[in-house]
Amino acid sequence: MSLLEIRNLSVDFQTVSGSFRAVDGVNLDIRETDILAIVGESGSGKSVSMLAVMGLLPWTAKITADIMEFEGRDLLTISSRERRKIIGQDISMIFQEPMSSLNPCFTVGFQIGETLKEHLGMDRNARKIRSIELLELVGIPAPEERLKAFPHQLSGGMSQRVMIAMAIACSPKLLIADEPTTALDVTIQAQIIDLLVSLQNDKGMALVLITHDMGVVAETAKQVIVMYAGQQVEQQEVEGLFSTPRHPYTNALLNALPERSLGLDRLPTIEGVVPGAGDRPNGCLFSPRCEFAQDDCEAQIPPLVGTGTNTLRCFHPVDHGGHGE
């Protein structure tokens, strides 16, 4: 049974200079215990799509989709009150900047306890016990004292652990992690990712990991969606994506990884820049930068083809001719 099913999700923002399409036709299908990584550059729309699911976008955003359902419930037409019962409890999200994502005026204990009180109706004692449990679960030493700490007294890594504790407090079925390690030290990054994966394992949660770090994707994800300029360009299982990337963008991204350029003089790059609001090409959005681009690529936008967890938006996918397997 599908936990989160999305078909053709688009998000348009009303701006001073007109309407801007930040997310264009995203499909995804997450089941229990899935680990899905969404990769892309900044501005590719990866965060916005998940924020749309959570209902956290500002009123200037217009969200449209053919299907956007969580456990069969339609998230598009749901009332605010019903939605508030789901998020924080069945679906949780953690964000990129843990230091500023916690309210500086309240203690850690207070902020974790809020979720427990709101969704599970626990009384004060039960909340305290559970909060300590959660802090231990996320690997925070001396949890009892930490309950009384204020966010500015915590380091980046600790803050993110607290955020994770808050997010899993009600044992959600789906956890969305939006670039959880980008703002942290490299040494802490690995710890946080390991924590997320082990929690996912223990609790049988589905995990959506939004990141631009291909190394993390390779190690943790089962499914990968690649996004470019708001569009979904490829989705594959992780092994397939890394061995036989089909979209030229994915191919170029992987080629640009330092690990893959051993023995080369120069690190490969992708020429050009991501199209902004004003200079979107008529055809495939990646065509100006694609080394395999042909005439039909520049004439029309390739549709997203494929089923389930195997999709591609390209007229001329990369041909690996037998390599890799």
């Binding site: 924080g88 964000f95 994502s101 916690l102 309210n103 005026c105 309240f106 809020e114 808050m166």
Partner: protein, 337 residues
Amino acid sequence: MFSFVIRRVALLVPIFFGVTLISFGFIRMLPGDPVAALAGERDMTPERHAEMMARLGLDKPAWEQYFDYVWKLLHGDFGTSVLTNRPVLDEFMELFPATLELGMAAMLLAIIIGLPIGIFAAVKRGTFYDQGLMGLSLVGYSMPIFWWGLLLIILFGGIWGLTPVSGRISFLFDVETVTGFLLIDSLLSGEEGAFASAVSHMILPTIVLGTIPLAIIARQTRSAMLEVLSEDYVRTARAKGLSPLRVYGLHALRNAMITVITVIGLQVGTLMAGAILTETIFSWPGIGKWIIFSVFSRDYYAVQGGLVLIAMMIMSVNLVVDILYGLINPRILHTSS
């Protein structure tokens, strides 16, 4: 936190000297003969002049006079009113409760109405409500207070005859002064209708005095809220599925309050200036009216003493606000060593 408080208190010292210097120098800077001004006499004979000069201590060198003056201040001697021959401090303390009562009522009004307006405007940013409310508050602080007061008097007192327009209570009542706060004293006195009279006399002055602080608080709350609403932790609060009331009223507001408290504290000076005008218009027997009267009647000791007392009062309130700010802002309260 402790060092924070110490530093704030330490700042008061130079300001205290500055203010005393101003009030000390004020009399010396008056046109004409300071002796005549302070003695209240004119055309004195040379002997009388010398006598008064010695009596007033004006024959000593200036710096010695200044130290005498400060010394007296620190002992609670703020001079003697030329008009009433009573110590200035006594006059001040007698009239201060009236101003305090009015000021507190005005501040209460400004906060109770201004704060929600600011929050509402921020949450409904860009809508008609937001623009309308902000437009109204702009009109509110573009108005001359004294005109606003007169206008209300004309409307409510004159044309519609709804409320009284001067004094604190109808002269029919003779209420004993217990606390100095007429609202409390009139209740204590048990006289029928006294409390109602006190309240009705307070309505117009409170509205007039409170209008500008209300407008400022509304605007500042709105902008503080807007800044806070775009912060990450508000997004986290919403992601936790908390109700809008909790998200805006608790998570957002708590942080916005840090700025707003400072703004509220700054209004004390505005209230004092406004009190001068409001009390004059409504014949409210407080220190605002007293100080104007003293300036006009050339009661220079009263002006001098009043100046120092008012400045000290404002400084104390600012200090309290600063400390409150330190208490509310956890970064200052819980500085990790």
